[in-house]
Amino acid sequence: MTSVIERTAPPVEAERRNGPPPATVERVVRPMPDRYRNPIGRYKVRRSADCRSCAVCVEVCPYGVHVKPAGYNLPLRPRDYLCIGPKCAETDHYCVEHCPNKALSVGRNPTADAIGDPRWTSDLLLATWRQAETGSMASVGDLEYRHGASGGGFDALRFRFPESPVSVAPEEVDTRLDLNRRDDGRPRVAIDVPIYGGGMSFGSVSIHVMIARARAATAWNTFTCTGEGGYPERLQPYDDHVITQVATGLFGVREETIQRVRIVEFKYAQGAKPGLGGHLLGDKNTPDVARMRQAVAGNALFSPFPFHSVYSVEDHKKHLDWIKAISPHALTSVKVSTPTDVDMVAVGSYHAGAHIVHIDGSYGGTGAAPDIAKKNIAMPIEYAIPRVHRFLVDEGVRDEIVLIASGGLRTADDVLKAIALGADGAVIGTSEIVALGCIRCGNCESGRGCARGIATTDRELIKQVDIDWATQRLINMYAAWRERMVDVLARMGMKSVSELRGRHDCLRRVRWGEEDVHD
């Protein structure tokens, strides 16, 4: 179950650092089970009182559902999340058949049927948990891990594989992404997978989650983002893999934090609440959070919309020039949402000097946002990517800027579809917190905050998420995603993920409701 993938080391400029030495995190996949006692699977296995502990089931089951450790008189409660369900009856190792006392039964797990929604179906949640546990796609079984059931956008797109592709071995496939396409003397920064983590601030998620994300980003030589909530000192060993955000509230932004990092991101807007500001409720503004944000504890904190210092592309350039002057090594990223003129905004960002333009579609977001905004304001990312890509091509600047897409990308397939639509790479957020055990109950902001200890700063609740556990879960998920990306690219006959960019011919549409033939 262990694999090591060769990593490319980031260049470290000695003069940039003044904090602790950089930490290294091994890129190794290790099994990392659910942190709850009862992991959820699609099926439920019941063992009745007729069981005579003969352990025949332990012998026949190849999936590890039935376990009877040495010295135990009774088998353990079935680990039914590993069960493949009633279709096992077609095999010769169906425990229900083999049980001499007819003590076993298998059925659907009502809990699995109750969770999920059209965008994040029950299968997508379960599949993401499996990936985070094992780091491989094989463990996902027949769960639908490729797309959700929302009926449009990514969910209505499939890959169109060539009938006789050029033969490409998986190890030949290059998934790296160069984040500096400008010939401006600033460092070349490449990431090993075409994805990095989106901004989640200290305050919106716990410090454990932030550190785990930074450690996983370090392992995968990619990035995570602080969001707008200050730069906790505990992230300093991972400076080379952290993007710090300068957003409209300027919470926790200091020159020294900007100088620490290799990429600085300006957040103009976010997809979950386009055109609206951020809002940290007073309850979540604990003394720790307030210190980080240089604010008063207990007060609700608003990040207004928009930047009051930016009313034109020239003002925008002034902003970026400011960062570039403070940190001669940093690349600049501009995060915007998806209004009708998102293409103009992207080109404006190019002319203002940005290295990365990051467009955030309306259906995503991890933090609390008004429901009306999530559903109705600004366009879904699927529509924004081709628009921006084409406009950048027409303006002749496409190859000088990196286009990153986010907002409702849930799977490796979504990332590849976004790239085929015209993006260079993607930013993910919700998938990461799902890997850490988020069930998407949506109550991030209420009361003490996240019951599962992710989106909270409650000192008791955050203890549920152990940093090492969370790091490994994320490393595993990235490994599984990369495996899937490599698999798809190889079947496309492509040796590099960059070959897929803008290839609409590699996609096909499905009409929702019609029989869907999978590739």
């Binding site: 709850y36 009862n38 992991p39 959820i40 409660r77 009502p110 809990t111 049927d113 109750a114 969770i115 929604d117 059209p118 994040w120 929302s150 009926g151 449009g152 956008g153 209505a156 169109r160 103009y268 807007a269 979950a272 055109g275 608003f302 207004p304 919309f305 928009p306 930047f307 930016v310 009708t340 905004v345 404006g348 259906y363 977001g365 991890t366 946002a369 008004p370 429901d371 009306i372 905004a373 999530k374 559903k375 109705n376 304001i377 600004a378 366009m379 879904p380 081709p386 628009r387 069930i439 998407r440 949506g442 991030c444 003490r448 599962r452 609409h504 096909r508 549409r509 499905v510 009409r511």
Partner: protein
């Protein structure tokens, strides 16, 4: 916030236990009676409520329906004997238009008066019919036209109902002629008669009281208005012939609606003769030939038209009815083409169920909307298909008017706040400027063709 835009919301609990989406099934059998039972650790405090019932029979019996489905107990139970399930009663709610989610969110808003907020992204389908296949624009770096969150309270949500002459007129004697009356409402909505069931006394009284608080108007059948009732917040609805019997009422009214028919303009003139300071609207079904009819009504001197779509926001009497999204754009476009759009006021109702419908209807060309079904849902209506009066499961006709009015005010207050969110996001400071602003909206077909047009099936 200027006082006139302030909606006084007051938390008002529902009359009946909430039909929640989730419940936890406790298998009980096999329970190990752990001292550190996961139920005690419930972050939302739901399980302790259930236990309260063991000690206090008057405590609610099924509080687990308030469960927020965080699954901490299901996944943490030592014996794994708990399961999450969807409340079967929840699955029976609503109809194909009024989804369960719409009912839940409407109930929550009627209770709290606040904007529904949740985390972890959007949960619904990618798009849907009608208003669910359009998106509103937002202002971006290059077009920030407002002062951020602190400017939001100064966004103007008022609209004018009445004739709006394009120029001033002078009489024979050279003096300025009186302008026709104009009613300014601080919110772009009026409250309309119930779409189903009888518009009973309690509901009519509640609606009138809510309209008064909201400083808007409630449409009421004229026969349902008691003698001597104050008419400041009422818009009497006439069939026409009976108008002669109501002269005292006409003298006091601000806005009346008259059902469209061959003689509607005669009735309007008749009403204006009694009270020249009255605004008289023609109320007509939103049929396929609505644009012709509206132009004709304009020729006959009518300046306010209330278009009534069906309960699901579609054209009536059409073989393939279009949704308001499309039908309304046609009417608005036609009036613009005829050069008369700015003289008229279009009130649009039918199928306006969510606050985004209000914003989107205005973008598609309405001046203001008529809200009806959501007011009943605010009182707990489940949009069942039963006999709406005799067997109403929530006995809606028995509701206490003050309580009902507050629920309606709460809902409309939440809608008002959400309209401001949309306007704020678009960088528009006045809802009057939102009217017909289709350039600041995005329509599914256009986006889909542009983005996916070259992707084959």
């Amino acid at each position: 916030m200027p006082e006139r835009y302030h909606v006084p919301v007051v938390p008002t609990p529902a009359r009946f236990p909430k039909v929640g989406q989730y419940s936890i099934v406790d298998w009980r059998e096999d329970c190990a009676r752990c001292r550190n039972c996961v139920k005690n650790a419930c972050v939302s405090g739901i399980w302790p409520l259930e236990r309260a019932h063991d000690r206090d029979p008057s405590a609610a019996l099924e509080p687990a329906f308030d469960c927020r489905a965080c699954l901490s107990c299901v996944q943490g139970c030592t014996k794994g004997i708990l399961s999450l399930s969807v409340n079967p009663a929840y699955l029976t709610l609503g109809d194909p238009y009024w989804s369960r989610e719409m009912l839940s969110t409407t109930w929550a808003q009627a209770e709290s008066g606040r904007i529904p907020v949740s985390g972890a992204g959007y949960r619904g389908p990618f798009c849907g019919p009608g208003f669910d296949s359009m998106w509103t624009d937002m202002s971006e770096i290059v077009r920030p036209t407002r002062d951020g969150i602190h400017g939001r309270e100064y966004i103007n949500t008022s609209v004018d109902v009445g004739a709006k002459p394009l120029r001033v007129r002078f009489g024979e004697d050279g003096r300025l002629e009186d302008e026709p009356p104009l009613i300014e409402l601080p919110v772009p909505l009026i409250l309309d008669v119930s779409p189903w069931g009888s518009d009973g006394d309690a509901i009519v009284a509640a609606r009138a009281s809510a309209a008064k608080t909201l400083r808007t108007l409630s449409v009421v059948r004229v026969s349902g208005i008691a003698d001597g009732a104050a008419l400041d917040s009422l818009a009497p609805l006439f069939d026409g012939e009976e108008m002669a019997d109501y002269e005292p009422l006409l003298r006091k009214a601000r806005l009346i609606e008259i059902r469209d028919g061959p003689r509607v303009s005669d009735y309007v003139k008749q009403a204006l003769k009694v009270n020249p300071r009255l605004v008289a609207a023609a109320r007509m079904p939103f049929s396929v030939d609505a644009s012709d009819r509206v132009v004709r009504l304009h020729e006959e001197g009518i300046r306010v038209v209330h278009l009534c779509a069906d309960e699901h926001g579609r054209e009536v009497d059409a073989e393939a009815p279009r949704y308001l999204r499309d039908a309304l754009r046609e009417v608005h476009g036609r009036l613009v083409q005829e050069g008369i759009r700015d003289e008229m006021t279009l009130i649009v109702g039918g199928g306006i169920a969510l606050p985004e419908h209000m914003a989107k209807a205005i973008i598609c060309g309405a001046d203001l909307v008529a809200v009806s079904a959501p007011l009943l849902v605010a009182l707990g209506c489940r949009v069942c298909d039963g006999d709406h009066d005799a067997n109403c499961p929530i006995q809606i006709q028995e509701v206490e008017p003050d309580y009902a009015a507050q629920r309606m005010v709460n809902l409309m207050g939440a809608w008002h706040s959400q309209l401001i969110e949309v306007l704020g996001a678009m960088g528009i400071r006045e809802v009057r400027r939102l009217r017909g602003e289709t350039g600041r909206a995005m329509f599914l077909e256009d986006l889909d063709k542009e983005a996916f047009g070259d992707i084959g099936y």
